[in-house]
């Protein structure tokens, strides 16, 4: 019978704890917003890097063309 008796823990600052939980909820929402913005920036960065990579490939091709033109001069 003694084992089945319910045991309770007294919490004095109940209202304060609830307020802190609400604050934590707000902070979590703000953190989620910031993460979302960081993700957007990362996507923009990826797009810029991809464009840059393509530009570099163009430059490489042009260098190859110049090299070919200079190494194989046409007969006069």
């Amino acid at each position: 019978m003694v084992n089945e008796m319910p045991v309770f823990v007294k919490i004095d600052e109940y209202k304060d704890v609830l307020e802190v939980i609400e604050l934590m909820r707000n902070k979590i929402e703000q953190a989620k917003d910031i993460l979302s913005r960081i993700n957007e920036l990362k996507n923009e960065e990826d797009a810029e890097i991809e464009s840059w990579k393509m530009g570099l490939a163009d430059i490489e091709q042009k260098v190859e063309d110049i090299d070919n033109s200079l190494m194989q001069p046409e007969d006069m």
Binding site: P6, V7, F8, V9, K10, Y14, K15
Partner: protein
């Protein structure tokens, strides 16, 4: 005349694109939705017997007989038609506008009402509360878990910072390489096209 000559031409329109091909399985399994009339017929709770319904209706009066009994407009004369008099509506003298109050945002009100319905209202008491030991243990475990997750988040932040520093370093190297590339291209340009 030249303006209207183009109108007589027959304009040939392009044929629309053919419908997408349907496989045999799709054509076998395809079921047309029921027609609205057929659906309405299916939903009719009773059938109307027109013959019985007509018996209940009063007999149709003879129109010729009605016309002969009615006096003509000329016989009535204009004076017999009474003119209706409407009361004049007086304008309000006061210029003060009545305020209907702020416009309520119905959608937000609905959402807030739904939230209130979904979450049972908790009464927040000022004094202490007594929590079951089982629930208390759960709370403590959750707090420990939150602490660990916050610590993990700090680690993630540190790793991201390291990644960012490494990226900055690579960007600097890339900038130097591009500057070098630019200088070399200028040199080639100068060497090939300089007139001596």
């Amino acid at each position: 005349m030249g303006l209207f000559s183009k109108k007589s031409r027959n304009v040939e329109l392009e044929l629309p694109p053919p419908p997408p091909p349907i496989s045999d399985e799709e054509s076998n399994n395809f079921e047309m939705p029921p027609l609205p009339r057929a659906a309405a017929k299916q939903k009719m709770p009773f059938e109307l017997n027109l013959e019985e319904f007509e018996k209940e209706l009063p007999p149709v009066p003879d129109l010729e007989e009605l016309k002969s009994n009615m006096p003509s407009l000329k016989e009535l004369g204009k004076n017999e038609i009474q003119r209706l008099e409407f009361p004049e509506i007086k304008e309000e003298e006061s210029d003060e506008q009545m305020s209907a109050g702020p416009i309520e945002d119905l959608e937000t009100d609905k959402e807030s009402n739904q939230e209130e319905e979904e979450q049972p209202r908790r009464e927040i008491t000022e004094g202490p509360i007594y929590l079951n030991v089982g629930s208390y243990k759960d709370v403590i475990e959750n707090i420990n878990s939150i602490k660990n997750k916050v610590k993990e988040s700090e680690d993630y932040m540190q790793r991201l910072n390291e990644v960012k520093n490494a990226k900055d370093k690579y960007f600097e190297q890339l900038r130097v390489k591009l500057e070098d590339l630019q200088r070399k291209s200028l040199y080639i340009d100068k060497s090939l096209f300089e007139v001596k």
